[in-house]
Structure formats: C-alpha cells, structure tokens
C-alpha cells in the first residue's frame, strides 16, 4: 500500500492535470463557436460557385471542356490531399483521418494505381509516413498560421493545380473530416481534380439566354481553379471546426476521468489515514494497559 505522502502527491498531480484539461475544454468550446461561424459564413460563396459551375459545365461539355474538368483521360496516378490538424489533444480525430486516407490509398494500390500523398497539417505525417514510406509527396505547413484561411487554401490549391498541369497526377482526392457535431466528425474522401461534373441543376431561367463575356469556355477555365480553391478552403474550415469539437469532447472526458480518479485516490487516502490513526491508538492503549 502506498504511503500517505505518495497518495497525497498523486492527488495533487491528478488535480493539476484536471485543471489543464478543463481549461483546454473551455478554450476549445469558445474556439468552436468561432470556427463554426466561419464555416457558416463561407457557405454562400461555395453554394453560388457550385450553382454557376453546374450551369456552365452543362453548357460547355464534350471535347472542348478544359482539362481540369475533363481530366487527362487516364486514372492511373492518384494523389490524396490529406488534411490533418497541427495540434493534438483532440481525441481520435487525426487517427480517424489517417485511417480513412490509408484505407483509400490501400484500395487504390490494390487496384494497381499509383498513389502519392500530399499532407496538410502536422499531425498526420508520422503515421502516414510509417504506412506509406515511399509515397509521401509534398507537405504543406499550416502550423505557423493561427487560423488557416483562404490564403493558405489558395496556396495549397495552386500547388495542386500546378502539379496537375505538369502532368504529375491524373486524379486528386481530398481527405478531410466533415464536422457534424462536437461528438461526430466523419472523415470524407472527395474528388477535387478533375472537378467532378456537378449534377445539372434544373435551370430556372430556361427561356432566357445568358450572355457570356468573354466566352463560356474562358469563364469556365477561370472558374475551375477557383472551385478547387473553394473546396480546399472548405476543408480547412471543416478541419478547424472538427479539431475544436473533437478537442472539446476529448477534454470533457479527460476532465471527468480525472475527477473519478481523484475521488478514488481520496477515498484510499482517507482509509489509510484512518488505519494509521487506529494503529497508533491501539499502540497507546496497549502501552497504557501494560503499565
């Protein structure tokens, strides 16, 4: 049985751990609200862009479609853009993303395709490197920025598009978690290059002829990189919200576990203190009787 002093030390240590997890939980809760607001604010742009894309893509079909929409004609070389967080303390979030990415990569490898990984965020690097040591391509560091925003998305997207135009790969997928709630973040694999043909929206202005300046193709050509950027930006916002949500839940659990542990240790501490007192009393009484 541990001595009283040891028990006391452990209780103090667990208490200070609890304070840390509690603080982290509250910070995450506050940041989550902000991240959610940011994700919400980004929605109108993405929605409009998608609807415009849909109407344009249905008009510019066939052979003269830009490469970014039509693809290279092959699907041999795949690239996975995996978005992870930079910081830990967020439960199984990164492990889940890594698992989803690895699963997709294995499936593609099993189909005989070439796979390359492009990593965003610090946390997924080590496990993915261990799983696929040969296939790690570029990495993008977001750890220097406090809130990854559109600029970072722009950089990532232009790098990816640049690699596509250089013929480094044929198909790119984006792996990121979709924030559902603080309890659930689903890792999702989404194709970004070539841009998946959007489902043709029922055109509400069927009669009206839309004029394009310059032409449909030129606009579409300009639009597609923007669309990719928006997708990446969306992923960055989702990961930010997911990180805070997962962190909040994980830290809530940790705080509760620490509370349980403290309770158990306190009971043990009191018991042994009582036992020590009883022993002492017995000794004194025994001593008094002997006299």
């Amino acid at each position: 049985m541990a001595s009283l002093k040891e028990l006391k030390g452990r209780i103090t240590s667990v208490k200070s751990t609890q304070k840390i997890t509690k603080a982290k939980q509250m910070v995450a809760a506050a940041k989550l609200r902000k991240a959610q607001a940011r994700a919400e604010a980004a929605r109108p742009y993405a929605e409009r862009l998608t609807s415009v894309m849909a109407s344009l893509a249905s008009k510019v079909g066939g052979d003269n479609a830009p490469k970014l929409l039509a693809g290279t004609g092959s699907d041999q070389r795949h690239m996975l853009v995996v978005v992870n967080t930079d910081k830990g303390l967020c439960g199984g979030l990164n492990a889940n993303i890594v698992r989803a990415a690895s699963q997709k990569a294995r499936q593609l490898i099993a189909d005989g395709k070439d796979v390359e990984l492009y990593l965003v965020g610090r946390k997924g690097r080590a496990p993915l490197k261990r799983n696929f040591p040969e296939r790690i391509g570029n990495q993008f560091d977001t750890s220097q920025v406090r809130e990854p925003g559109f600029e970072e998305a722009e950089q990532i997207a232009s790098e990816v598009i640049g690699m596509f135009e250089d013929g480094k790969f044929d198909v790119a997928h984006l792996v990121y978690p979709v924030f559902k709630s603080a309890l659930a973040q689903d890792p999702t694999v989404q194709q970004i290059v070539p841009v998946p043909a959007p489902e043709t929206a029922p055109s509400d202005d069927a009669g009206a002829v839309v004029e394009y300046e310059p032409g449909e193709e030129e606009i579409l050509e300009e639009l597609l990189p923007r669309y990719v950027k928006t997708q990446v930006f969306g992923a960055l916002l989702e990961i930010a919200a997911s990180e805070q949500g997962a962190s909040m839940t994980a830290m809530d659990n940790a705080t509760r576990n620490a509370g349980d542990l403290i309770q158990k240790l306190t009971i043990q501490y009191n018991r042994s203190r009582q036992a020590a007192i009883t022993t002492e009393l017995v000794e004194i009484i025994a001593g008094a009787e002997a006299l």
Partner: protein, 85 residues
C-alpha cells in the same frame, strides 16, 4: 427600381442589399447593371466596384480582386476572392 446586389467572398457574405446601380469592372470593360438587366456573366479584373445606392448619388467604391459577376433573375451577384474597403 431596385437591383438586388450581393457581394460574396470565400470568407463571408459582404453585401446583400437593394441598390440602384452597380458598375462592375469586367475583364472586357466596365459595365453597369440596373434592375432588369438581361442574364449575363462575366469574369472581372482587379479594380473598383462602384455601388450607386440611388440614382445620382455619389458612388461607393469597393476594391475587388479576382472573381466573376453573374446577373440573373435574382439580381447581381459578384463573387470576389478579395475585397477591400
């Protein structure tokens, strides 16, 4: 006589209001949009977007960068990557 005008960036919805006229710096020249403009779509070059709240009022200038403008039944929507002012 009001044109519904929306200015959207990836980060947020900057404007959504009823205005008289908007002058957009299209990539092939500036164009003004009034209510009832025929459906139209254009890419934009970096430049100043002028918003006229009412006829004859002094325009409000918004610097925009990269994007495109769409005129439809619902009014004018400008999607820009960066907005200043």
């Amino acid at each position: 006589m009001a044109l519904h005008f929306e200015l959207v960036t990836p980060a947020k919805l900057v404007r959504s209001e009823e205005v008289h006229m908007v002058v957009v710096p299209g990539s092939e020249g500036e164009f003004g949009v009034l209510e009832g403009h025929s459906p139209f779509m254009s890419t934009i070059r970096d430049g100043a977007l002028q918003v006229f709240k009412t006829a004859g009022a002094a325009p409000e200038t918004i610097m925009i960068q990269g994007g495109f403008a769409e005129v439809g039944d619902a009014g004018l929507t400008v999607l820009a990557e960066h907005v200043e002012g």
